[in-house]
Amino acid sequence: MTGARHLYVHLPFCAHRCGYCDFVTLVGRTGQHGAYVDALLSELELERELLSPDVETVFLGGGTPTFTETAALCRLLRALPSAEEVTVEANPETVTPHLARLLRDCGVTRMSLGVQTFRPHLLAVLERVAQPDTVRRAVYRLRDAGFDNISLDLIYGIPGQSAADLEADLDDALRLAPEHVSCYELEAKPGTRFTHAHGDELARQADAMESYFESVVAHLTAAGYRWYETANFCRLPTPLDARDLRSRHNLAYWRGRDYLGLGIGAVSTIDSRRWRNTPRLGAYVDALARGERPQRELEPLPPAVQRQERVLLGLRLDEPLDLESVAQAVDVPSLERLAGLGLADVIAAADGHRRVRLTERGRMLGGGVTAEILV
């Protein structure tokens, strides 16, 4: 094996836990940030041989990575392997001119800002700290520090969000000329505080989500963005900027590449095995302080499951999926039926390999189409 070329690092700390969030997060704990970074670096050392000497992408997700104590964050960034794409997630209110410059100096190439919405009443529903202007200011500060690859995260389906609210959000985002936009439907997990508070409203507006999703795709593609993954868009190359602005790190997931994940709750997939670190901070830090691996949940990935995942993930993309490599996972008659309905294109290439790509309508129905196509 040649080692994983993609590294994920989880920074769980947040100033506040938003009601809808279901990530592994911890509020505050500023005294423990340094110890946690030590643990991350110990884990990196323990797993070093799993990584390729040529790491292509590093992604710091959270939590709110930029809420991490600045000194600890910089120490981490400087100790991580260098890579062509280094992304850090940030909440707008944490982005100071100083931090922006520091991140740039520490080798960060790409920033992913958790905007969610520009409407004040919807920010309140989501319990976000930032105000619309905070978001804009954060983008300007990142630009000033020299960031030329910024992604904005938006959410649609917020309780009380009208179709006009959504369009205004998309317009506001586009005015900031982001290189990349991620746009997700709000997922309200049963049993959460958020669902309890807004469940009725969510149920009431559920039918509208079809047109919301269509509106997102229509808006962003009309503005010159490439809908390259179900929920992700990037600016198309222009004569002035010919870069491929897709998230290389996330593409690695969708193409079924191996990746190493560090930190609490982080998932790794390497060599037909997947594991998930304990989500408990104390247990994680203690184990690594003893020089031991943290407790992990192991999931073997037999070839059949890997093929399923390749289909499941590959069909999310706008690039064709090589059918021959996953042939055993695909029910060809079903695929052909769907192709007949205009939901998928089966492309015969010169090398004799057939490739499959979902049409625009097929991608809107990607979940159902995948369930139909998989054996």
Binding site: Y184, E214, Y259, G261, V267, R274, Q308, R363, L365, A371
Partner: protein
């Protein structure tokens, strides 16, 4: 026991009019069972008895009263089940006709009383529940006396609950019910009036010995079927199983046959001895023809063999049950089953689900039709999809519907029956307030929701019964349902031309609600022949995506897709369309409450 000291009787009562309480009281008074044991030994409990490792339900209980042997022959738990009642009645010389002092005669009471009269039984009229505050024993007694053409003085007034008057009932059985009339010296003949199956002992026949006698280990023969076997054990229930050396003329008991093949011994057949055979069998039961049909399909297609075995087992003591394999392109392999009526269908379904633990999908019931294709012969059609598109004539079964209601509901019943293509027959007053009405109706008009409608329009006061009176021509058409352009055989229905459009429209509307949105538009059409009479569209889904999917989410997303696939498996595939099983029941609930 000398024949003149034997009395065989049944209890006829409408549900809740006190049959089991009276049976319990009789067992108690005759010391057949102590009060403590009572609970477990109710005659009509559906729980199976566990005795000597074999599980057989008592169908007849022998008790002693003042030197007489009384055999109480059970009528099935559902007393309004005319056909089975008639079987039990043939084994008796008398019947207690029990009526609730507060509720009076019900339609089933009438039907069963007529049945008892037809069988030449001596009827002992009993008004029960005289202890209730709302009881009107005089009115109930007068109605009952009028019904059987007896004097009201002859009607016994009891409370099975308190025991008041129950001894008089036992005395009346001895005094009024004739002793069995068979010839004790003639070659042996016994009527099989019910049977059961035990996995270790095989078929157990419940018999009424008419002539001669039978003894243990004797070689026997079932006269109609020619099946030969040895009586492994004879005996009776008192109320637990007691083996006996012999059963003689007039007695009622059981025969353990050891037969493992349930189809070898049919209820209604006559047993005789191989040593000294009788010349002719006893008159068996009237051959009953199933009139109501429905498809029974296992929810899980793997259960098909179990369903087949279960039906065979039920057929053993239910000669009226008819079944043949049916293949539906929508529902897979199953059976088209014929029933005497709705209640019979309900009972069979209930038993299959409860006793055999089967999960079933039962299609909407339809009646039997007689069809004459152009230039062809008359034949019977049991499933709507089999009705040819071109027919010269179609006939459908008609019934005489009998309804008893308080007089203020006469209008409501008339209105309902008129809407159901009914023809008024007659109306008579049973008492000052209660009326007995009869109508002639197509059977098809009552198989879906008639009973519910009747109950709701009469605030639950109506009681209802019916008799099939024969086939009559009708202006009938077949309405087919097409889902995504494919005809769905299981949803076809035969209906009077006047109602076809309305019913077709209602059906497709209902189906539009039941069929979930798919990846493409789905047309749902109703058609007569090639003519579309109604159409609805289930619009395609426009969005079906799992929002976020990054490194940490992949396993969970994969499981979501797996769950989605599993959900699809529970659907039935019609062409490309996934149809939930519930949709096949849509036709059942057309007038029911909408979701």
């Amino acid at each position: 026991m000398p024949q003149d000291r034997i009395r065989n009787f049944s209890i006829i009562a409408h549900i809740d009019h006190g049959k089991s309480t009276l049976a319990d009281r009789i067992l108690e008074l005759t010391h057949a069972v102590s009060q403590r044991e009572m609970r477990d030994q109710l005659l009509d409990t559906m729980e199976l008895e566990r005795e000597r490792g074999i599980t057989i339900k008592a169908q007849a209980v022998r008790v002693e009263w003042k030197g007489y042997q009384l055999n109480l022959i059970d009528t099935p738990g559902h007393v309004d089940f005319t056909y089975e009642v008639s079987r039990s009645l043939q084994a008796c010389e008398g019947a207690l006709l029990v009526v609730d002092a507060a509720q009076g005669t019900q339609a089933q009471t009438l039907a069963n009383a007529y049945l008892a009269v037809e069988n030449d039984l001596e009827i002992v009229p009993v008004v029960n529940k005289i202890d209730l505050s709302q009881a009107d024993p005089d009115a109930a007694a007068a109605e009952l006396a009028d019904l059987i053409g007896d004097s009201a003085d002859h009607v016994l007034r009891i409370s099975a609950k308190t025991g008041q008057g129950v001894e008089d009932v036992l005395d009346a059985i001895v005094e009024r019910v004739p002793a069995p009339a068979g010839d004790a010296d003639a070659p042996a003949r016994a009527l099989i009036f019910d049977s059961s199956y035990d996995q270790y002992r095989g078929v157990v026949a419940f018999v009424r010995v008419v002539d001669g006698s039978f003894s243990t280990r004797e070689p026997l023969r079932a006269m109609a079927q020619g099946t030969r076997f040895e009586a492994e054990e004879l005996g009776f229930f008192a109320p637990t199983m007691r083996s006996a050396e012999s059963l003689s003329a007039g007695e009622v008991g059981y025969v353990i046959t050891g037969l493992k093949d349930v189809s070898k011994l049919r209820v209604g057949d006559t047993l005789t001895s191989e040593r000294r055979s009788a010349g002719a069998p006893l008159p068996g039961y009237k051959d009953v023809k199933p009139m109501v049909f429905a498809g029974l399909f296992p929810t899980d297609s793997d259960d098909y063999p179990e369903l087949r075995d279960a039906l065979e087992r039920l057929k053993l003591n239910d000669a009226a049950l008819f079944y043949e394999p049916e293949t539906s392109q929508a529902l897979g392999f199953g059976f088209r089953c014929g029933f005497l009526g709705l209640l019979h269908m309900e009972i069979v379904r209930e038993r299959l689900e409860r006793e055999f633990d089967l999960d079933l999908l039962v299609t909407a019931p339809n009646v039997a039709y007689r069809v004459k294709p152009p230039h062809g012969e008359w034949r019977e059609v049991h499933t709507p999809a089999d009705l040819p598109t071109e027919v010269e004539e179609v006939e459908e079964p008609y019934i005489k519907a009998s309804v008893i209601v308080p007089k203020e509901y006469v209008g409501a019943v008339m209105e309902l029956n008129n809407a159901r293509r009914g023809r008024f027959d007659q109306l008579e007053y049973l008492s000052e307030d209660r009326v007995h009405m009869t109508h002639e109706l197509p059977l098809a008009e009552i198989v879906l929701d008639y009973y519910d409608q009747l109950k709701s329009r009469t605030r639950g006061y109506a009681s209802f019964d019916y008799d099939v009176i024969g086939f009559r021509p009708g202006s009938l058409v077949r309405v087919d349902v097409l889902v995504g352009g494919e005809p769905v055989d299981a949803l076809s229905l035969i209906i009077h031309r006047d109602f076809a459009y309305e019913r077709g429209r209602a059906l497709v509307e209902r189906l539009r609600e039941e069929i979930p949105r798919q990846l493409f538009d789905v047309a749902i059409q109703a058609a007569i022949g090639s003519r579309i009479i109604a159409r609805e569209t289930v619009k395609a889904k426009r969005k079906d995506v799992l929002a976020k999917c990054y490194g940490g989410d992949i396993t969970r997303k994969r499981k979501l897709i797996e769950r989605q696939k599993k959900g699809k498996k529970r659907m039935k595939q019609v062409g490309m369309v996934e149809v939930p099983q519930e949709a096949f029941l849509a036709v059942l609930n057309l007038n029911g409450e909408r979701k």
